[in-house]
Symmetry: C3
């Protein structure tokens, strides 16, 4: 199945690429690599998850937020490649920051909300290297921030 068919199968549509919240741009391409800026879980112009996990934001909400961060990142990538996702060679690296209560330890499971989506959409090409960590504070109070590095043709 193509990316578009997989997206439809999952009942998803790509959002419009989010605007950066400050003085930078959504993505930069160098050679065959696209660096996507850190994405927040914006949906319809609102953050869908704020505060630390799990005291303020539930684990499940954070996992859904990670999925939304990735969807937003894919929208950014789409803008870079004229919407032709067959040009994605490989999702190379995913960096995940989860706003966490001190010592909370399940960042990998939160991050899976995004990682599993990438594998569902791209198959083997969606399998990526990853660093997932916690933090005590994120922009706008978001519970999750995710950046992507993607190889394209």
């Amino acid at each position: 199945m193509t990316f578009e068919q997989q997206l439809a199968t999952l009942g998803l549509t790509l959002p419009a690429a989010p605007k950066p919240v400050a003085a930078y741009i959504p993505a930069v391409r160098t050679g065959n690599l696209i660096y996507v800026s850190g994405q927040l879980p914006m949906k319809d112009g609102q953050l869908m998850a704020t505060g630390p996990v799990p005291s303020v934001c539930s684990f499940e909400a954070a996992q859904a937020a990670a999925r939304q961060c990735v969807l937003n990142g894919l929208a950014v990538i789409g803008d870079q490649i004229g919407g032709d996702f067959s040009r994605v060679v490989r999702i190379v690296r995913v960096g995940v920051f989860v706003q966490s209560d001190n010592g909370w330890t399940d960042q990998p499971k939160v991050a899976n909300g995004g990682s599993e989506l990438l594998q569902q959409l791209f198959g083997e090409a969606g399998r990526h290297a990853r660093a997932a960590v916690g933090t005590n504070a994120l922009p706008l109070g978001a519970s999750v921030e995710i950046e992507l590095l993607v190889e394209v043709r």
Copy 2:
């Protein structure tokens, strides 16, 4: 205007490239990419901003510190390219860590202190992808740490 002219217009001079504070080196080049190590807001051998924002370090001081981190990173890049900044093709990615009080949310505005300088100095080539996050602790107690990825010719 050239990089040097823009720098002068802003009343700035590049510092000497800071020495790493431990067992690593200031930058590594691979292909056309230069990876610059995380820069602290060192100025004349002293950190110009320490402690979390905003309880100990003010927002304004952190923003100035971000600018200094970028200046220090540019000094490192200058060392790699023989001081010829016309060889900078693109600032690709900027990674920003802001020492933050729990749940503080204005890391993007702090990071802008560095991002806006890059755009002033390099114009279109200075527009970059970025990930800015908070953290509860940084080396030497610095309020900001910034790493750079730059494409050169």
Copy 3:
């Protein structure tokens, strides 16, 4: 001395490459670059250091953990290059996250546990760019997480 001889001189052997703790893979190669996923200080299937430094995990234990993270990362790289470490051109970048008490400042010295090992094993090729930061929470409660970027032939 070769990598293998240096390893033996240090009394070290490479572990089996750790399995990722979630939905991602240990490393992705794009061009001549290998991105290694964030490595935890797993040893014989157990984390050798958990909790924040220094209140729960001592500085010395964290430094040893950083060294173990790098060893685990090298095992992952070995899998990618058929165990032939003469194919390592350069350790390009090392990203280090140290679970830290609020405002603790010696992340660079912890990170040196990994950085110094890389220089011992690879000599000039092991000298890398680095970003080391603190955080209030890491996966599984690990005291240190390290990711690697390596150029290979």
